[in-house]
Symmetry: C3
Subunit: 329 residues, 3 copies
Amino acid sequence: MKIKNPFFVKREYIYLADLMNLLNVKYSDKKKIKIENIQDLSDASKNDISFFNSLKYQKILKHSKAKYIITSAKYEDQVKLYSNPIIVKDVLKSVYSIIKIFYENSLNDAVDLNVSNPNKEIFNNVTFGKNVLLGKNVKIGKNTLIGHNTIIESNVVLGSNCIIGNNILIKNSIIGNDVRILDGSVIGKKGFGFLPNQNKNVRYPHIGMVIIEDNVEIGSNNTIDRGSISNTYIGKNSFLDNQVHIAHNVRIGKNCIITGQVGLAGSCVVGDFVQIGGQAGISGHLKIGNNVKIGGGSGVIKDIPENTNVMGYPAKNIRSFLKKSKNGR
Amino acid sequence: MKIKNPFFVKREYIYLADLMNLLNVKYSDKKKIKIENIQDLSDASKNDISFFNSLKYQKILKHSKAKYIITSAKYEDQVKLYSNPIIVKDVLKSVYSIIKIFYENSLNDAVDLNVSNPNKEIFNNVTFGKNVLLGKNVKIGKNTLIGHNTIIESNVVLGSNCIIGNNILIKNSIIGNDVRILDGSVIGKKGFGFLPNQNKNVRYPHIGMVIIEDNVEIGSNNTIDRGSISNTYIGKNSFLDNQVHIAHNVRIGKNCIITGQVGLAGSCVVGDFVQIGGQAGISGHLKIGNNVKIGGGSGVIKDIPENTNVMGYPAKNIRSFLKKSKNGR
Amino acid sequence: MKIKNPFFVKREYIYLADLMNLLNVKYSDKKKIKIENIQDLSDASKNDISFFNSLKYQKILKHSKAKYIITSAKYEDQVKLYSNPIIVKDVLKSVYSIIKIFYENSLNDAVDLNVSNPNKEIFNNVTFGKNVLLGKNVKIGKNTLIGHNTIIESNVVLGSNCIIGNNILIKNSIIGNDVRILDGSVIGKKGFGFLPNQNKNVRYPHIGMVIIEDNVEIGSNNTIDRGSISNTYIGKNSFLDNQVHIAHNVRIGKNCIITGQVGLAGSCVVGDFVQIGGQAGISGHLKIGNNVKIGGGSGVIKDIPENTNVMGYPAKNIRSFLKKSKNGR
């Protein structure tokens, strides 16, 4: 699914030579090569630059279309097999500096001051509560209802037949049809990502979106952060309970059931038909297979293969967890 | 405690024959029997229909006044001992279809569009902050204070001497005297209950209320869901800290102390004088006795008898938890 | 760092004899000794009264400047070594009764009814969203931005170059420069402290503040309670993710990274450069040293020395946790 990101204005292209110069990498470019974007390995097209910073993503590297890949010296040989490595000292820092060049307003992430009370006439059968604030160019499908005091920032897309509750903030999000979002949730704010620095941490750009597919339900007081470079996804017909926290770049499949106070750390990937019990947590960058059941309160710290039931901290096969806890009494 | 539910309009009665027809159960009714409501086993009166779907509720079944009880074939003999079983394939689905007949607006659970700024003159010494929105027929006792941007939906009852903070949403709730609810909490929204379905989950009706007794304190950013068929209760003089999540049908006794980020799953019953440490979780349908102390971070997955101190995940006797963790270092 | 508390009006002094009388302690005072404040052991000056109620604070007792110290009979000898003990039956109750005398409005902790839309002219280059409510005497530095629907109560101090999001409540707080607070957070409400009582718990006064230093970031839907007698601190350049709960009197050092859904219980002290993984919890009154790393989901129930990596519940050395959990599979 390729959805155009309407939230951040991208430069059409930048000359490779200019990027190399920015990264302090020696390079002479007689061909005037144009780079069109910076994207993660799986989303990158053949005129894009990407980056490789962990062996976890080796498989994806193999199939990436990116022509140039920023990496560190230790991965040079790896990357050479599939693409052209650009060797830098600090991969993440380099990536952020390139994002900032491509997306000039990417660090401008505060409060949308363009909001105002809705001009109801331009919408087709949309119901607005009191004190609703809409940004510029918000699209809302028919029969959708927006609750009181809710703020929807510029360029957000909302499908039809949605019910958006009260006191909600939505930004940087593309939302399907028949979606419900309950009171007090915050959708699409930037993720918790920055480069630590003794005097002043450097917040890095978050140019991703939150994509919510049809029939999803999001409970009350949830926080769903948008992606940094790629997007945060919630798949079709997945339901989230109250006080759930979904970090940046998380991808949740279809028909998942995520119970109250669950937390999913950055970039974890959850399959279809996954059930997660209350207060469970999943560490960053993990992969949870289809049809997995994770017991309430579990702490998942490694990948879980599909069709598995796990529980505990760290989460393990549910039978061994229950047996062990019985013996331990 | 029997409190009339003012939030959902109930039909006065439905003929048993019509209900049987709806459930596709063969039945001929010469007596024109009238059924007055559908309620859970303990709340049902003698002209009500109820349901039995788990051996956990065998004791309650024994004392239920319900004349007809929807159940599945495997529990037929059980139910026959005390009442008239109505055998269906899918108990929950049948129950929801009957609720929808009794309560025509039971799925209408979005945003109260009848709210407006309060007409202060009709209240006796009630103080309102800025931008307060009140639904129709809200009752508020004297000397109560409602904070800024707070929304109180139609038919809510609030006692006297209450302090309701800012940015709060209250719906489907009956609240006693001297209650404090702090900023950002969401009280009375529907619970996280639905019938999973591959294409589109079926949300089921939540016709219960939240009942909050006198002297209760609810912290900031809490979520307290109303009951599905029965109610969610918070007993007298119980105090809840911040970011607590109380699911549908939970019953909390008197004088409980529930610390920050605790989560109680659906239908669990907590006795009086229970103390629950921060971030602890209790699974659904469990019974926690009086005077129980549950240590912070615990995960409770079975009933806890009264006067017990537990800790750990799964929670066990606190002495064995601390001893084991000492040995394990 | 000594910051004057502008939120609670203090009596200039009270005669020691009057305090003794209040506490039912026999005492004759020919010198007309004036007591200027009640403070905790470390903050007390030589004309202040303080209190000692746990051996945990023995070291601090040794260096306290307080001339009079409320304590119970069992600590009398201890206190005598350094100061003048005042022996009472219930230390906390006595302390609260004295606070109430010094700070007459200390229990008045509801909703600031003095707020109104900002008079933008009196601020130097401050940007306000829609429906912002400001209390009296709020100070805001230049180039600061306040989001929509946000409430800032009377006497709050906000530095320059801050970004305060939408739907936020800030009270009883002193906030530095370059601070970001994200949407839906509640900063500075009273802590979860009270004297349990069968008929009606007695809420005790919270006269402390929240002090947030420069360059701090606070995520969405956080709750940061103010101190009871001393203050709650967030040190320079520390970053908090979403749904974090910080209880009263907590002190967080510089350059800390606190991930989503973490909870810190009352009065715990966290050093500099501490990293806390998602959903971890720290019990009350603990001390976490500098450079400690606490794994996600951990439950910390005792002090952690500096430069240590811990994980698990209860949290222990991370290597022994991972080894044990491997064997346990």
